[in-house]
């Protein structure tokens, strides 16, 4: 007997799929500080993009598991 509420799992999976991580603000700014900020912005953008992709994969997996559980049940 599975101890899984697959209706709730569908709901969480859907919520996760509809979410997006926040975007990084981009500002072309002058001077050495502006250049440093551009480089740093790029690093944070990369980290957030990777996080977004992994969150998306996780959401897909949760939804797929919910569907599998439903089928088995």
């Amino acid at each position: 007997m599975l101890d899984v509420d697959f209706a709730a799992l569908h709901r969480w999976g859907g919520l996760l799929q509809s979410s997006r991580v926040p975007a990084v603000p981009t500002f072309p700014l002058p001077g050495a500080a502006g250049a440093a900020l551009a480089g740093w912005t790029h690093s944070v953008q990369d980290a957030l993009a990777a996080l977004d992709a992994d969150l998306d994969r996780f959401a897909t997996a949760v939804s797929a598991c919910a569907a599998n559980y439903e089928e088995v049940a």
Partner: protein, 424 residues
């Protein structure tokens, strides 16, 4: 105006990341209720990793906003003082370049290590002990086993000290013999002790004969915690996981602390994820330059701790306890009245005006090399008692002497007996 707008946008990003973390917490609670069993546990472990990676970005975003705001203020004076704006441009560029995204790996490492069979773990520890031994998220006993393999084939004065001190109940959680060397040593199993105290030493600390003194101090704090609460176990960990300054010239620079932030952050996270259940009281004690390491980590990367304790500090990188991103009531500091570190004035002029001129070695100064003295009541933390000594150097070295109230107070803080802490 544009710099101020950029600052606001980064602050907004930090707020949205915080909201995202809260939302992931809600999802976690939902999954815990609706998905039992092994698969559900695995899903929550993945979610914990995603949460940690989101949370790791919040403080760097807050710090970026703070740096941009400071620069915006300097730029607004550019018409009156172009030199000030140029100086700020250079300083802001250096500060932004030093920012890093803290690793959120310990939770993933823990999940990976748990998924291995005993034989697989043995094989990893035997074939790659250097890597396993330093990996935050791997349990203390396994790290210790791997690091002892590395220790056996290493040489040098610090290595000999370690070999002599690694008795039963002492765990080697990190070893790096390159450069000045690094070592992380726990007195008591941090994964099974009720409380965990991490000690970050200061200038002159290295994997050499000086290691003995750092180990003695760490052991003394473990004993003090045990005396404060004999019913609980407290593991005290020496975290010499950074390249500490070798002299005063280097100690006046923050770059050694900058380099340590990400590693200290990750180490503290690792302690939490490998602990058997919740840690009772998790504290971090920063001494001398080590206090700056702790302060900058708390400010820029976040530090998992219930209490931050600063001893003999020349500033912790902020103007007040509230800037450390922790509850100021959990920030503790002590400095002997005649500690030599009180002479670490940002300028000769200040030193003459506030120390030498009024009297020979006056009261501790509020502003030091690396910010406001955390042991000054104006810092906004909690100040506790420490004994004076005959001369300023002895005063700086004596916080762990038997009978010094500073040591007893650190023991009380480490076990959560905040009300028993004595004040100056």
């Amino acid at each position: 105006m544009i710099w101020a707008a950029a600052a606001d946008a980064w602050q907004d990003l930090a707020s949205r990341l915080e909201a995202q973390v809260a939302w992931l917490d809600r999802i976690d609670r939902g999954l815990a209720d609706s998905w039992k069993g092994e698969a559900g546990e695995a899903a929550r472990s993945t979610l914990a990793d995603l949460r940690a990676r989101t949370a790791a970005l919040r403080l760097p975003a807050t710090r970026t906003a703070s740096l941009l705001r400071r620069h915006a203020s300097a730029v607004s004076w550019a018409v009156v003082s172009p030199a000030l704006a140029a100086l700020s441009d250079k300083r802001t560029a250096a500060d932004i370049t030093s920012l890093a995204i803290p690793s959120a790996r310990p939770a993933s490492v823990r999940a990976w290590w748990s998924s291995l069979s005993g034989a697989e773990r043995d094989r990893f520890a035997a074939t790659a002990p250097e890597r396993i031994g330093r990996l935050d998220g791997i349990p203390a006993v396994d790290r210790d086993r791997a690091n002892r393999l590395v220790l056996q084939r290493s040489h040098g004065p610090g290595v000999e000290v370690l070999k002599a001190r690694l008795t039963d109940g002492v765990y080697l959680l990190g070893l790096d013999t390159s450069g000045d060397g690094k070592a992380i040593v726990a007195f008591g199993d941090p994964d099974r002790s009720t409380n965990v105290l991490t000690f970050v030493p200061g200038m002159h600390s290295a994997l050499d004969s000086s290691l003995s003194a750092s180990l003695d101090r760490t052991a003394a704090m473990a004993v003090a915690a045990s005396q404060a609460d004999p019913s609980a176990t407290t593991s005290a960990v020496l975290w010499l996981g950074y390249d500490a300054p070798d002299d005063l010239w280097e100690a006046a620079q923050a770059k050694y602390a900058h380099s340590a932030r990400a590693d200290l952050h990750t180490f503290q996270e690792g302690l939490a994820v490998t602990h058997d259940g919740e840690i009772g009281e998790q504290s971090v004690v920063g001494y001398s330059y080590g206090a700056l390491v702790v302060g900058e980590t708390a400010r820029d990367a976040g530090i998992r701790a219930d209490d931050l304790v600063f001893l003999g500090s020349a500033g912790v990188g902020v103007g007040s306890a509230a800037d450390l991103d922790v509850d100021p009531a959990t920030v503790w500091a002590a400095s002997a009245g005649n500690d030599a570190v009180g002479l670490a004035a940002p300028s000769v002029k200040q030193l003459l005006r506030e120390q030498i001129w009024p009297r020979y070695l006056g009261e501790p100064m509020p502003d030091l090399w690396h910010g406001h003295n955390p042991a000054d009541p104006g810092f906004g933390g909690q100040v506790f008692a420490a004994a004076d000594r005959a001369n300023p150097i002895d005063a700086h070295l004596s916080y762990w002497d038997t009978g010094n109230p500073a040591l007893e107070n650190v023991g009380r803080i480490a076990v959560g007996q905040d009300r028993s802490v004595t004040r100056p």
